[in-house]
């Protein structure tokens, strides 16, 4: 009734009409304007800061430096506890580790005077040598964290004396022997770039004391409960004194998982007792938040002449920039959410070093390592199929994972820790492959078609998988209360950042209760009013939070029936979503609930549910495209993109489709256009939308999305996740298509026209 229905997003119309809903829209009018002075050097030590002339300006209310903020070392990653990211950052610090690192915080009553004040603050720096090229970082004489006081909460291979934020390795089977026994072994090195999230709403945070002197934070965050925990701990105040509200968020994609401006506004409000707000400039979003972890990926794979894939060996160097946020987990996901695609191999090995450099930190970003790993693995599978002279489609069919099977990797590799063994109960990769290959017309188009003497077209594809939450770690919960007139409030900790999770969680509640979805009013992400949820990351909301909602709604149904039995003194009351039938009595829920509020046997019915996953069923996808290359210029055009996804039951098919399309375009951007570029001094020079090339609507060709019929037995109403997987296939699919079109194999992203032209004309 409510599930598998494309209802509009509950917040959609209000957002489209521009109603005040985002962090800055909700800031008190008298909020102090907060700005951050950013490091002009990639690596430097602050010798002195003189803010005296700034503080003489009456409009300036406070200046924060490392000398007057709490000196605590922690991780801003915004993860569960204990965090798998190293504790290597402070609120403000004497050492500056990248161009854009925070030097000081200035707050005043007007933006203009804050700008004037910033120009009057004198900072003396001692410039230190910096590491810009991540391939030179390991065991360099230059240390990014030379102080040596960083640490990890459990072993993650953290060794700042080697510029190592984290390290990981695992081996299943006898890799060397298996490789020796293969007919063909192929080895290649792939590079993936730093990509910028480029959400349209810049990061923003607001702080104020409410009338009860509680510190209220409004923040464009994906993790309000982690913000509360990390803020309270490092400001040394009880958690009970902080309330974090997540209003509507203008896009996140992982970029708003971590702590950004929250500390700064909280400290300004603590110090001045006045409301404060900080809205990042676009340049700050580029320079001083996060990028995708840049990686070098070496793969060696071996197969038999008949096409049996026998061994895969992956070795990664990942660049986490100045701080180790998500260092270990992004690395591990590059293996754990790609390698199980080929679960029949006899041996598989995965290792990696995550190094510090003096660059903008790496952080969570949709795909979270899987998209980097996927580019390398799925390029390699095409290369290997080529060496074997086997059609790459057939090669995948022979070796890919199937429903009812498992992979040892699920058990060995988790996110920062060991994994969880699981049998794959839903996997429609075969149907996804059939659909894309048929619709792309692979049979007639592979490998290439010639358009004219200058232009040639090629086809390519890639398989992908992701996860659905982190088992035994991600917890989500929900509360449902029945109101008079028979409607419900659904309170969830889950964090809707534009994906539509409020809407689909409302649909799950309505379906379970058997009521129309407009009878469920959803309110989310307020640490005072809603129950806990780890937050919007790791593709967890539909699967994990969805179960929390389902459980709460089932209990609410039971509570209604139980109350009806007691009320009418029967033992067989039923509730059909509209009416309660108890013996000879029939009463509408609207009437019954109103009675329960005002007239007889008064009682507020409330139910709660919480859920922790015991597995993380992967959604699957096959993405395939046709590209056109102009040989004169290297111009690359994606003609058509076909993507078939197995995400289990689509709770809201429209929102699934948009998630996939949006993911695909971010993936196409990563494949062809986007790259955070730095000078040899570590200055980010494409730090605006003028220079950083986010795909516009002129770049996008038709995207054809198919949601294949699938049901995940462990999911709420059969659902798995869909948030991240869309981004995974384009880099490899496009690289494979370009190879098929031109015979040139590009192993470095992005594949710009210039890059391709140079390779074609070598």
């Amino acid at each position: 009734m409510s599930v598998k229905k494309s209802i509009p997003k509950v917040d959609g119309m209000g957002l489209m009409l521009g109603k005040p809903a985002f962090t800055d829209d909700l800031a008190p009018a008298d909020a102090l304007v907060v700005k951050v002075i950013r490091s002009p050097h990639a690596h430097a030590e602050i010798l002195s800061i003189d803010a005296s002339r700034a503080l003489e300006i009456p409009e300036i209310k406070c200046v924060l430096t490392y000398e007057n903020v709490p000196d605590r070392i922690f991780s801003r990653a915004g993860q569960g506890y204990p965090e798998p990211s190293p504790y290597d950052a402070r609120i403000l610090e004497k050492t500056l580790r990248y161009m854009g690192d925070a030097v000081a915080i200035v707050a005043g009553t007007t933006e203009n005077m804050v700008d004037v004040a910033i120009s009057k603050i004198k900072v003396a720096y001692k410039i230190l040598p910096a590491i810009i090229d991540f391939e030179t970082a390991l065991d360099s004489e230059v240390l990014v964290h030379a102080q040596g006081d960083s640490s990890s909460m459990f072993p993650i291979g953290h060794d700042p004396s080697r510029n190592l934020a984290a390290q990981y390795s695992m081996k299943i089977g006898d890799l060397e022997e298996t490789l020796k026994s293969c007919d063909v072994v192929h080895q290649a090195t792939y590079y993936t770039q730093a990509q910028a999230h480029s959400m349209t709403e810049p990061h923003a945070a607001v702080a104020y004391y409410d009338f009860q002197e509680r510190l209220t934070i409004i923040s464009s965050t994906q993790t309000p409960f982690h913000v509360r925990r990390i803020l309270a701990k490092n400001l040394d105040v009880p958690l009970s004194t902080i309330r974090v509200i997540k209003p509507r968020i203008g896009g996140g994609y992982g970029g708003k998982q971590a702590i950004h401006g929250e500390f700064y506004v909280a400290l300004v409000t603590q110090m001045t007792k006045q409301p404060a707000k900080l809205v990042y400039s676009r340049q700050e979003v580029f320079r001083s938040t996060y990028t995708r972890h840049q990686m070098r990926i070496d793969i060696k794979a071996g197969a038999m002449k008949d096409g049996t894939l026998k061994a895969i060996d992956v070795d990664i160097l990942s660049n986490t920039g100045a701080y180790g946020e998500h260092a270990l987990t992004v690395l591990m996901v590059a293996g754990s959410k790609t390698l199980p695609l080929y679960n029949h191999v006899e041996a598989v090995a995965f290792r990696g070093d995550v190094v510090y450099t003096n660059l903008t930190p790496g952080g969570a970003f949709r795909g979270y390592g899987a998209v980097q790993g996927n580019f390398a693995l799925e390029s390699m599978m095409d290369e290997l199929a080529g060496k074997l002279a086997i059609d790459p489609v057939e090669f995948r069919r022979m070796n890919m994972i199937k429903e009812g099977e498992t992979s040892k990797i699920f058990e060995v590799m988790g996110e920062g820790t060991e994994g969880t063994a699981m049998i794959i109960e839903s996997c429609k990769l075969d149907e996804c492959l059939d659909w894309t290959i048929k619709n792309l017309d692979w049979k007639n188009k592979y490998p290439r078609t010639v358009v004219d003497e200058n232009r040639v077209r090629g086809v390519g594809f890639a398989l992908a998988m992701q996860g659905s939450g982190i088992p035994y770690i991600d917890m989500a919960s929900a509360i449902i209360k029945l109101n008079d007139d028979g409607f419900f409030n659904l309170l969830v900790g889950a964090t809707d950042l534009g994906t539509g999770s409020d809407t689909i969680l409302g649909q799950i509640a309505a379906e379970t209760l058997g009521v129309p979805s407009d009878k469920v009013i959803v309110y989310s992400s307020d640490t005072d009013l809603t129950p806990f949820d780890t937050g919007a990351y790791a593709s967890s909301t539909t699967y994990v939070s969805g179960h929390g909602v389902r459980i709460a709604a089932e209990r609410m149904r039971e509570a209604i029936i139980d109350k009806a039995n007691r009320f009418f003194n029967v033992d067989n009351a039923t509730f059909d979503g509209e009416k309660i039938i108890a013996g000879n009595e029939t009463v509408s829920l609207a009437q019954f609930s109103t009675t329960l509020f005002y007239s007889e046997q008064q009682e507020q019915l409330v139910a709660h549910g919480s859920y922790v996953g015991t597995k993380s069923p992967p959604p699957y996808m096959v993405g395939a495209c046709e590209v056109e290359v102009d040989k004169r210029t290297g111009r690359i055009k994606v003609i058509d993109y076909y993507a078939a996804v197995d995400c289990g039951t689509p709770i809201n098919p429209n929102l699934v489709r948009i998630q996939v399309e949006g993911g695909l375009l971010q993936g196409i951007g990563m494949a062809l256009y986007e790259e955070v570029k730095v000078t040899e001094n570590g200055r980010l020079f494409n730090d605006s939308f003028l220079r950083y090339k986010v795909p516009t609507r002129m770049e996008v060709g038709p995207m054809h999305v198919e949601i294949v019929d699938s049901y995940e037995p462990s999911g709420p109403f059969g659902a798995k996740s869909v948030a991240e997987i869309g981004i995974d296939t384009p880099p490899a699919a496009i690289a494979n298509a370009i190879y098929n079109a031109t015979g040139v194999r590009i192993r470095t992203l992005p594949i710009t026209s210039e890059h391709l032209w140079r390779e074609m004309n070598k």
Binding site: S6, P8, K9, D11, G12, M13, G14, L15, M16, L17, G18, K19, P20, A21, F22, D24, D25, E111, N112, H197, S198, M199, T200, E201, P202, R248, I249, G250, G251, Y253, V279, S281, R282, Q283, L497, G498, T499, G500, N652, N654, L655, R657, I658, E661, G662, G663, L664, L665, Q666, S688, F689, L690, V694, T696, R697, M698, V700, P702, M703
Partner: protein
């Protein structure tokens, strides 16, 4: 500097800094549909109408708008709702942060050309970035709106 702004048909007397942009002035006055996105006229989320033409308010000096007709989405709610329903029917607004700017741009196009082709729509909206949706859903919605309007 003292400036008189005519916003959505109402007169406002405001004091503006010489370098103040309309984006900031309008938000201070409470017109929160006007969003801050890129600070460099390259994303379209701050788009408004000045004398019926679409402009990025992040690069339009408030003093230049003295005595000119400014329209924000707050002043075009009914018209916008009609179009927006076709986009929400596709789920294509997603985070919604770019939506007000998109709608303002689209309505400026309709002021000039009541029945544009989808190619014309895409060209006109080319400067309006959306990072969530992949654009296709928005285009499906707009195409349906145009079809229904024509019929």
């Amino acid at each position: 500097m003292e400036v008189t702004l005519i916003i959505n048909g109402n007169r406002y007397s405001v004091s503006a800094e010489p370098d103040e942009m309309l984006l900031n002035t309008l938000r201070k006055l409470g017109f929160k549909s006007v969003k801050k996105g890129c600070d460099s006229t390259s994303c379209g989320v701050c788009n408004i109408h000045v004398d019926g033409k679409v402009v990025p308010s992040c690069a339009f000096l408030t003093v230049r708008a003295d005595h000119r007709e400014i329209t924000t989405l707050e002043g075009l709610q009914e018209r916008a709702k009609e179009i927006a329903a076709y986009v929400t029917a596709e789920g294509a607004e997603q985070c919604g942060y770019c939506s007000p700017g998109n709608l303002m741009t689209l309505m400026a196009l309709f002021n000039e050309n009541e029945n544009p082709t989808m190619e014309e729509v895409k060209h006109f909206l080319a400067g309006n970035l959306c990072r969530c949706s992949g654009y296709e859903g928005q285009h499906r919605g707009i195409a349906k709106y145009l079809e229904v309007k024509k019929a």
